[in-house]
């Protein structure tokens, strides 16, 4: 059974614009205040999900399925990014014994 979309039932698109902007800003603040590199990767995932939420909202709002295909591809890229990022972190932890991002400035030069 398929219900009518919520945009035909009184919920405005501005609600989802504000919601996903708040989620994106929370992810960005998290990137700035946390220094554990794993939490930083998690906050990037949160920002990607905020974009996904807005894309699905507009896809439903306009009745076009293309936005949901793009969300699918963003998930693919996020999975690949998390895999490579976490393996780089494991490698760095093996050599430096920490995941504090401020210690990675030794990488320069």
């Amino acid at each position: 059974m398929v219900l009518a979309t919520i945009f035909q039932n009184g919920v405005s698109i501005e609600f989802y614009i504000v919601l996903s902007t708040i989620l994106f800003v929370i992810g960005m603040i998290g990137v700035m205040i946390r220094r554990n590199a794993i939490i930083l990767l998690m906050c990037i995932e949160l920002m990607l999900n905020a974009v996904n939420l807005l894309m699905v909202a507009f896809s439903t709002y306009f009745g076009q399925a293309d936005g949901q295909i793009f969300v699918f591809f963003i998930m693919v890229v996020a999975a690949a990014e998390a895999t490579v990022g976490l393996s780089i972190l494991v490698m760095a932890y093996r050599n430096l014994r920490t995941t504090d991002v401020s210690i990675f400035n030794k990488l320069k030069g």
Binding site: T5, Q8, I26, N36, M42, F62, Q64, A82
Partner: protein, 170 residues
């Protein structure tokens, strides 16, 4: 209880659990709150009739990526004691910068031109597997095949990076 009330309650729960991700001190607790956030976002997708994306979000994000994060956290044996802390000035300036960004986004979007929602009768079923699969394997078949190449590259990269290199250590 109408749909608008449900949407507002779900939105509040999503923001609350996302805030707990960056507030909680213990990294494992952060991961668990992020899983909760992903479940809330999936509930929002179901509310918007995007059933396929909702299930994929739970399986891929909450099921695969977050378990990978949890594995790495337990492997590295981090705890509350050796969690690096940033100073109060950094936190304050980060919150001010984030609030400024939010204000700018909302101010920019406030002047946007409102376009009416679709009134098509078949718009209800676009989030189902049938229509998405039709689109994915006709119009977007080349990006779909390219993503498999991306996955192979990521897999090879992860194996190469995580492998212990004996020649360099000795």
């Amino acid at each position: 209880m109408n749909l608008e009330t449900i949407a507002i309650i779900l939105g509040g729960l999503t923001i609350g659990s996302a805030l707990m991700v960056i507030i909680s001190k213990h990294p494992v607790r952060s991961v668990l709150y992020l899983v909760l956030t992903f479940f809330m976002i999936s509930a929002n997708y179901i509310l918007m009739n995007a059933q396929f994306i909702a299930i994929v979000n739970i399986i891929v994000y909450a099921g695969a990526i977050m378990v990978l994060f949890l594995f790495v956290l337990m492997l590295l044996n981090l705890s509350r004691e050796n969690e690096p802390k940033s100073s109060i000035m950094v936190k304050l300036s980060a919150v001010i910068a984030g609030g400024t960004l939010f204000t700018v986004f909302i101010a920019a979007l406030k002047d946007g031109v409102a376009v009416a929602a679709t009134t098509a009768t078949d718009a209800d079923s676009i989030g189902l597997v049938e229509s998405l699969g039709q689109l994915l394997f006709t119009k977007y078949v080349l990006p779909f095949e390219m993503s498999s190449v991306l996955f192979i590259a990521a897999m090879v990269g992860a194996v190469l990076l995580a492998k212990r290199e004996k020649q360099i250590i000795e």
